[in-house]
Symmetry: C2
Subunit: 187 residues, 2 copies
């Protein structure tokens, strides 16, 4: 049985990530994931369309939290400040998922098809952030640039966060990544 | 017969883009492309692995030109200046391909699978730019940020370039996109 969260969804995620880590992603079956979680295949498919979804189901939650954060940003904040302030609720979600994220990152790194999926999810996220900025009254051009730059800040901070050992470091790494971007683009 | 370039490669590209535009991408076959170009299917497959490659073969040339541009940038330029200066040779290539690029953009816009391919090519490009910066002695973190930001500048300029009618505007749009990024990230 998995040592991860007690609910069925959490147990399936924990069992899957353990098995992907032990045996490799390709070699792991849905039946094995369900067995490790002490559940049936039928229960697995109630939560996930396939084993790949275990790795990507968090993207919806990430997007929801990011958009909530953007909606809550001060009305007078600059577009890029809105985007990065919107990552505060994401930092809280990530703190609890550090070990999962570390193993997940290794699995994706080793699998080009999963890398493509990750890229597409990230770009969908950029599109959602861009639309949220336009809804706040940001011009189309600034919204596109701020969303893409915000995803770059996120992407760089995330890469550093999974490589180091402190689960709570995400917020600090976002601030560092934003400061690095500012100094890089200073004329 | 296609009104495009006289060499076999150029004729195949021109015939393909005409047919994609007239009939749609999915409805066009390799046999029809070869026929329109006045060539055989066998000749088509000497240049392209499939019809999708007609739309993406330019990415290799783009990458080669961009990396040449980066290699030729002044030694004391900042990382982001290196990346954007590297786009000068790309602007020349693009000037000759504006009409192709406009039709291509419409086709990709209408097809999610092609959008994913485009995204992956763009991210491969970012990876190549990042490695070129590291080879120039830029730190890993700055190289990643500058490459991602450079691809954002490119992506935004490219989107504007295909939407407007002046084939020579790409260089100006890169400068505008870079200036917009600088003002967006100014603290």
């Amino acid at each position: 049985m998995s040592r991860w969260k007690p609910d069925a969804h959490g147990r399936l995620m924990g069992a899957a990530i353990e098995l992907f880590d032990e045996r490799g992603y390709d070699a792991t079956t849905v039946a094995e994931i369900a067995e490790r979680a002490g559940l049936t295949k039928r229960t697995f498919f109630r939560y996930f369309s396939d084993k790949r979804e275990v790795l990507f189901s968090g993207a919806d939650q990430l997007q929801r939290l990011w958009l909530e954060g953007i909606a809550g940003a001060p009305a007078d904040a600059t577009p890029l400040a809105v985007v990065t302030a919107g990552l505060d609720p994401v930092a809280e979600m990530f703190t609890e998922r550090h070990e999962f994220a570390q193993i997940r990152a290794r699995i994706i790194e080793a699998n080009p098809e999963l890398q493509e999926r990750e890229l597409i999810k990230l770009q969908n996220l950029a599109g959602a952030v861009e639309r949220a900025l336009v809804e706040r009254g940001v011009s189309a051009n600034a919204a596109l640039l701020a969303a893409q730059s915000g995803v770059t800040v996120f992407h760089v901070a995330f890469a550093h966060w999974v490589e180091q050992d402190d689960p709570t470091a995400f917020r600090r790494l976002i601030a560092k990544s934003l400061a690095d971007l500012r100094s890089l683009t200073a004329a």
